[in-house]
């Protein structure tokens, strides 16, 4: 697996003060693979996700995405800001609270990465941005400001903004947790569409039914360690560990939270 894997994480450690958030985490994501990270809050799943694009700098271990590899820990030099920025430009990230730029229109939000980071000409960036907005079904909202959009629309713009960087990998940090229940579906549809197009993705989520549907692998974390890992359906339907069973017991497995197919 390690030869074809797109993301490879080895021995990852991170602590915030005295709180050890990640304890020796290993993770592989195949090219085009979709991995769902689940677990109770405080389990370290969001921190792990943020270590993949080095938004959080690990204390030890190694992170590889594509052919770029970073080693952390004793004696290892921390990458400088330029190297970090270049690395992050190849991964897209979607946040729980959208983090759209409120002083820019939807179109400008999506153009921002290509123009500022990729130094693309404005006209080309606009073509690209409009295409990405159309892809998430929001072409007609191009000239509106984020404040005028619904939560689901905001999150779809945030996905378009990340996609405009044409990343190899997409990271979703509880992308639907801040949404009203009736708006969750439209965002999950977009994520599912990306999965079907072969995008490599790591998804931190509480949508168990969705994870079962879309992810090919599932990782259950608790207290900074991987408790159980395996094919998504297998882990959800027949968990081996008692902790996994207890966690999954909180969810109604039949209450299909996600639509099974894209409506388009």
């Amino acid at each position: 697996m390690s030869e074809t894997s797109k993301i490879e994480i080895r021995g990852l450690r991170k602590r915030f003060g005295s709180n050890e958030v990640l304890k020796n985490i290993n993770l592989d994501v195949a090219k085009g693979g979709v991995v769902a990270l689940i677990g109770p809050s405080g389990s370290g799943k969001s921190t792990l996700l943020r270590c993949i694009n080095l938004l959080v700098v690990p204390d030890g271990g190694s992170v590889r995405v594509g052919d770029r590899r970073f080693v952390f820990g004793d004696g290892a030099k921390l990458p400088d800001v330029k190297t970090l920025a270049k690395f992050r430009a190849t991964t897209g990230m979607v946040f729980q609270h959208f983090n759209l730029f409120p002083h820019m229109t939807t179109l400008q939000n999506v153009m921002e990465g290509p123009v500022t980071v990729r130094r693309m000409a404005k006209a080309d960036a606009e073509t690209l941005a409009r295409a990405q907005l159309a892809k998430v079904g929001l072409a007609e909202k191009a000239d509106q400001y984020p404040a005028t959009l619904s939560g689901g629309q905001k999150q779809r713009v945030a996905i378009a903004r990340a996609l405009a960087m044409e990343p190899d990998v997409m990271l979703f940090d509880e992308a639907t947790s801040a949404l009203d229940p009736e708006l969750v579906g439209e965002v999950l549809n977009v994520i599912q569409q990306l999965a079907s197009e072969g995008m490599t993705m790591v998804i931190v989520t509480h949508e168990i039914a969705f994870a079962r549907e879309v992810a090919d692998r599932l990782i259950f974390m608790r207290d900074g360690v991987v408790v159980e890992e395996g094919p998504a359906r297998q882990v959800i339907d027949t968990p081996r560990e008692a902790a996994t069973r207890a966690f999954l017991g909180h969810f109604h497995r039949t209450g299909a939270l996600a639509p099974a197919t894209t409506a388009t």
């Binding site: 694009n53 920025a85 945030a158 903004r161 960087m165």
Partner: protein
């Protein structure tokens, strides 16, 4: 009963106008320089490096926590002895007022920057921006909008603070009116007129500030 006679001031009109010109010009200089010091102080106090943070905080607190009048006198009399540089009263007072204003501007600018949600710079970083790019493109445009009312307010105070430079014989409005008051034996009329002159310039400015605040409240 005192007999008010403002007519007598007419003969000093050029003196007043001269002084007013110096006051306004001086204010422009110290606001611009003060904002530059403020920018330096704000970025310094937010620096990744501890030494720079310490330096910036020392500057801010030294000028924020000592009286302006003392600073003016100190810059004119003490600094030349310590540093061995002769300074004209105008240079000394421009420097003191700019640094004094800068210390307050620093806190306003720093406060504006840290008030922007951390998620904003994170989103910038996730797109591949350097910290500088995300500051310029994402954080500052939002922060400046929030800072403007407070910066305007501080500038209004700076305008009034220029009246203190008269102690170093800088020929501003207050200094010239002292001359006129001594010459005419009419201090009451003179200082009333000076107060009105300051207010006549500042009241329209404060109205603009208030409008700005309202517009800001609408857009948030």
């Amino acid at each position: 009963m005192y007999q008010w006679d403002f007519g007598i001031l007419w003969s000093y009109r050029w003196l007043f106008l001269n002084g007013l010109g110096v006051t306004v010009g001086f204010t422009i200089v110290i606001v611009v320089c003060g904002l530059l010091f403020g920018l330096l102080g704000a970025f310094g106090s937010l620096s990744r490096f501890k030494e720079i943070r310490l330096l910036a905080l020392t500057f801010i607190e030294a000028f924020r926590c000592t009286p302006l009048l003392v600073q003016l006198i100190w810059f004119y009399y003490a600094l030349p002895i310590l540093a061995g540089v002769e300074m004209t009263p105008i240079m000394a007072s421009a420097l003191a007022l700019s640094l004094y204003g800068g210390s307050f501007y620093s806190e306003i600018i720093r406060g504006g920057i840290v008030s922007i949600d951390k998620g904003q710079s994170e989103a910038g970083a996730a797109l591949g921006m350097t910290p500088g790019q995300s500051m310029r493109r994402i954080v500052l445009p939002q922060a400046i909008k929030r800072m403007i009312p407070a910066l305007m307010n501080q500038s209004v105070i700076q305008f009034k603070n220029t009246s203190l430079v008269s102690v170093l014989a800088v020929p501003d409005l207050v200094y010239q009116s002292q001359v006129a008051a001594h010459d005419s034996y009419r201090p009451l009329e003179t200082y009333t007129a000076v107060a009105i002159a300051y207010a006549a310039i500042l009241i329209p400015l404060t109205i603009i500030v208030r409008r700005g605040e309202k517009r800001l409240a609408v857009s948030e």
